[in-house]
């Protein structure tokens, strides 16, 4: 009735190619942005930011990144945790000033980067590392590539544990984010106000989603999808698999690096590589995009929301409302989340994004069933 293209005439090419061709969608999109930017920062407190919103935004960026690689380009990766670690440690090194040593002597020290650029540098360094570990994808596919990226995961975690240069030779091997500000407003450190941390992460999330959406519907996205659907056919019609696969690895790692940098600097403030960026993180982000929907921007958000919010919701319901023992609730959480994943994959193999698509189709026809 109100959700349809009819009556909405495009008079320019730009209008014809816009992301949300339906007026209702467009209004909804701007409304969501408005609420996220102008309303939520006014009403949130420490609990909402640190328990729900920051992990959601940060995991959404990681899921976007992995979705580009797995969902759009069809290259399976189990190295997400390791790549997030690269982002986190690069961010740490750049925000404390990279020191270059040669033969036991300090050659020079870069000035400390502003936190904004440190996060960006986290993405850039990860993009570089991602391309390096993406090279095997030119020779191997599928499960074999998954194993190669698994090697990246273990190697990177081992390296950050082993080489003390990465954690500035601290005795514990932990990295902790010192206080840093942007335009005089604290972004990292314990005294950060909830809204500042939230808006900082939100900015990166919106930017990532915007870039990802426009990359995937442009030429490079079409090349990735061609590679995913049939690489030989893609090669024959003139897609360069080297370029397509490596750009996918690069863009994907860039986003994952940004999320790792934010995860460390804004969200947790101190991390230990084995605990924070272990193999379970790779699986978590992979589950997010599988549940959310492979090859869908909305799916990345939906999957991140599902896996971040559900455990917290279950905990609040079980412990705070029903007063059950914490261990029973923790065990139930595992059962319920696991069960839901199975139910989802059976009932809707294409994820939450597909549910959304079906709902939109139904809305188009409503109120007539045919």
């Amino acid at each position: 009735m109100f959700y349809r293209e009819a009556g909405d005439f495009s008079t320019t090419y730009a209008q014809d190619q816009q992301t949300f061709p339906i007026k209702f969608d467009r209004i909804r999109y701007y409304l969501v942005l408005f609420v996220a930017i102008f309303v939520i920062p006014l009403v949130i407190n420490d609990y909402w930011v640190n328990s729900l919103l920051l992990p959601f935004l940060i995991y959404a960026i990681a899921a976007l990144g992995l979705n580009i690689l797995v969902g759009y380009c069809g290259q399976v990766s189990l190295g997400t945790g390791g790549f997030m670690a690269v982002g986190a440690y690069s961010c740490y090194k750049f925000m404390t000033g990279v020191d270059i040593w040669w033969g036991g002597e300090l050659l020079f020290r870069l000035p400390e980067f502003n936190i904004f650029f440190a996060v960006i540098m986290g993405g850039v360094m990860t993009a570089f590392v991602g391309v390096l570990f993406g090279l095997p994808s030119l020779r191997i596919k599928g499960f074999y590539l998954a194993v190669a990226t698994l090697a990246a995961q273990f190697f990177l975690v081992w390296m950050f544990n082993r080489v003390s240069w990465f954690y500035n030779y601290s005795a514990s091997g932990q990295i902790s984010a010192p206080e840093r500000d942007l335009f005089g407003i604290l972004i990292t450190g314990p005294s950060t106000t909830p809204w500042a941390a939230y808006l900082f992460c939100l900015f990166f999330t919106i930017l990532s989603a915007y870039i990802a959406r426009n990359l995937t519907r442009g030429a490079s996205g079409r090349k990735w999808m061609a590679i995913r659907d049939m690489d030989i056919a893609a090669e024959i019609i003139g897609v360069n698999p080297l370029r397509a696969k490596l750009t996918a690895f690069m863009v994907s790692s860039f986003f994952i690096g940004i999320s790792g940098a934010l995860f460390f600097s804004v969200y947790l403030g101190a991390v230990e590589v084995g605990e924070a960026f272990g193999i379970q993180k790779s699986f978590l982000v992979l589950f997010m995009i599988i549940i959310g929907g492979l090859g869908s921007i909305f799916g990345s958000f939906a999957g991140a929301a599902f896996l971040v919010l559900l455990p917290v919701a279950l905990k609040v319901a079980g412990v705070d409302w029903l007063g059950w023992p914490t261990d029973i609730v923790a065990h139930l959480q595992l059962v319920i989340v696991g069960l839901l994943i199975i139910v989802f994959l059976i009932a809707e193999p294409h994820g939450i994004a597909q549910l959304w698509r079906v709902a939109k189709e139904k809305l188009r026809l409503w109120p007539f069933p045919h």
């Binding site: 005795a171 514990s172 091997g173 206080e179 314990p190 947790l268 403030g269 101190a270 230990e272």
Partner: protein, 427 residues
């Protein structure tokens, strides 16, 4: 009319404010996951002591206590979530029982003006209260543990460790890495060779590490492990027939759960401790009467008297005593977190005090000062008897290498202060 309005306003304020007639001691516990074997008894002991205080004394200074629990699973992300969710409830002191979570919470608790007690874990240099104003780690810390173990070995070898080899099997995390610096310094001082053998989380797979130990044949092995890693290490040590009396665990690697799995092979295994073992203390009669018999025991109620239960109990006792001190200082029964910090900073434990609490000679006497948030680091040694299935204290609580540890603490806390723009000062 005016009176009516005022009384309505008062009623509204009273209705709106949360129930404050309680002293809240949040428990960041972990009863699930690979570290549950250590988390459950500690959380039970912590909760049971406050249950007993409520039933026996009517709380602390006439105010009832409550112990809301939050499951962290030894995971830092969940730890942060727990901290934020419990913060709203007015928690007085946090005890995360995880070095990783401690690192996260040190700046957060300082900014929120809430004290944190990391008993025998956490960041060792938090002993310097001039830098770490809200973190306390009395009565002993990781470096005391390392030094205590070396002191014990020195005594066994008539004061000479020259030419000996000591291997450190450690959990490859902030926790396990803590003693490395101290042991390196001590090896230079006493002339022994020190080797590092890291074990990755969670530590169920240690074949290669113990193969290395079998090949290198160190004279002694010190272990900094936790959770399932301990059981596996002791089993593996038994498999390569490493002499158990030369195998020393820190206090986190010395509970019943760690040795029972290996059966008779674990006989003679040693572990450090900073408090008494067993349930032969008067306070356990009260626990039995007011908690167990009343059916109010936390968890399954089967942990009473185990090493880690005692440690949880000890932590609760120290927290309760600090709360009492805070009540005296500020002259109010209903203290808040900031006042609790003052109580902890002025805590003094004496032999008489502990005897009156039903815990004679259970832990060392110490006095917290601004420059010393960590007590005096008195460390004892316990040994496991596999036939009787008990831990016995086999040495007196002895002081550790204070000079060395204090210089390391000064160095590390100065680095932290410089990194975070803190001017060291007494608060």
């Amino acid at each position: 009319m005016k009176f009516k309005l005022t009384s309505m306003a008062v009623a509204a304020v009273m209705a709106a404010s949360p129930v404050m007639a309680e002293l809240v001691f949040p428990s960041l516990s972990y009863r699930t996951g690979p570290y549950a074997a250590g988390g459950i008894p500690f959380a039970d002991g912590y909760a049971d002591y406050f249950t007993m205080l409520n039933a026996r004394d009517g709380g602390i200074g006439g105010v009832m206590t409550s112990v809301p629990e939050c499951e962290t699973g030894y995971n830092t992300e969940k730890g942060v979530e727990c901290y934020e969710s419990l913060k709203g409830g007015g928690g007085l002191v946090y005890q995360p029982l995880s070095t990783g979570i401690t690192y996260q919470l040190i700046p957060k608790t300082t900014a929120d003006d809430i004290p944190m007690h990391t008993m025998g874990y956490g960041r060792t240099s938090a002993k310097n209260g001039e830098v770490f104003t809200h973190t306390f780690n009395y009565p002993a810390n990781y470096w005391d543990g390392a030094s205590g173990a070396v002191n014990y070995l020195l005594e066994e070898n008539d004061g000479d460790l020259n030419g000996k080899t000591i291997a450190l099997v450690y959990h490859n995390s902030a926790y396990g890495k803590e003693p490395i610096r101290t042991l390196t310094e001590l090896s230079a001082k006493h002339g022994f060779t020190f080797t590092e053998v890291p074990v990755d989380h969670p530590g169920q797979e240690q074949k290669s590490q113990w193969l290395q130990i079998r090949r290198d044949k160190p004279d002694y092995v010190i272990m900094y492990g936790w959770g399932v890693m301990n059981q596996v290490a002791i089993q593996e040590a038994a498999n390569i027939r490493f002499p158990m009396e030369n195998f020393i665990g820190v206090w986190w690697s010395g509970s019943e759960n760690d040795v029972l799995a290996a059966g008779a092979a674990a006989d003679g295994y040693k572990a450090l401790t900073f408090h008494g073992v067993g349930s032969d203390f008067p306070v356990f009669d009260d626990i039995q009467t007011y908690v167990v018999d009343a059916g109010k025991a936390a968890g399954a109620g089967d942990q009473i008297g185990t090493v880690l239960y005692n440690r949880g109990l000890y932590a609760a006792m120290l927290a309760a005593e600090a709360a009492k001190t805070a009540q005296e200082i500020h002259g109010t029964a209903q203290i808040n977190a900031s006042q609790m910090r003052d109580g902890m900073a002025a805590l003094e434990m004496t032999e008489e005090k502990m005897a009156a609490l039903g815990l004679p000679n259970f832990g060392p006497a110490f006095k917290v000062e601004c420059t010393n948030h960590g007590g005096d680091g008195m460390v004892g040694m316990t040994q496991w008897d596999a036939t009787a299935k008990t831990w016995t204290l086999i040495s007196d609580f002895a002081p550790t290498d204070k000079d060395l540890i204090d210089s390391l603490i000064a160095e590390d806390s100065a680095a932290y202060a410089a990194e975070n723009n803190i001017t060291p000062a007494c608060k």
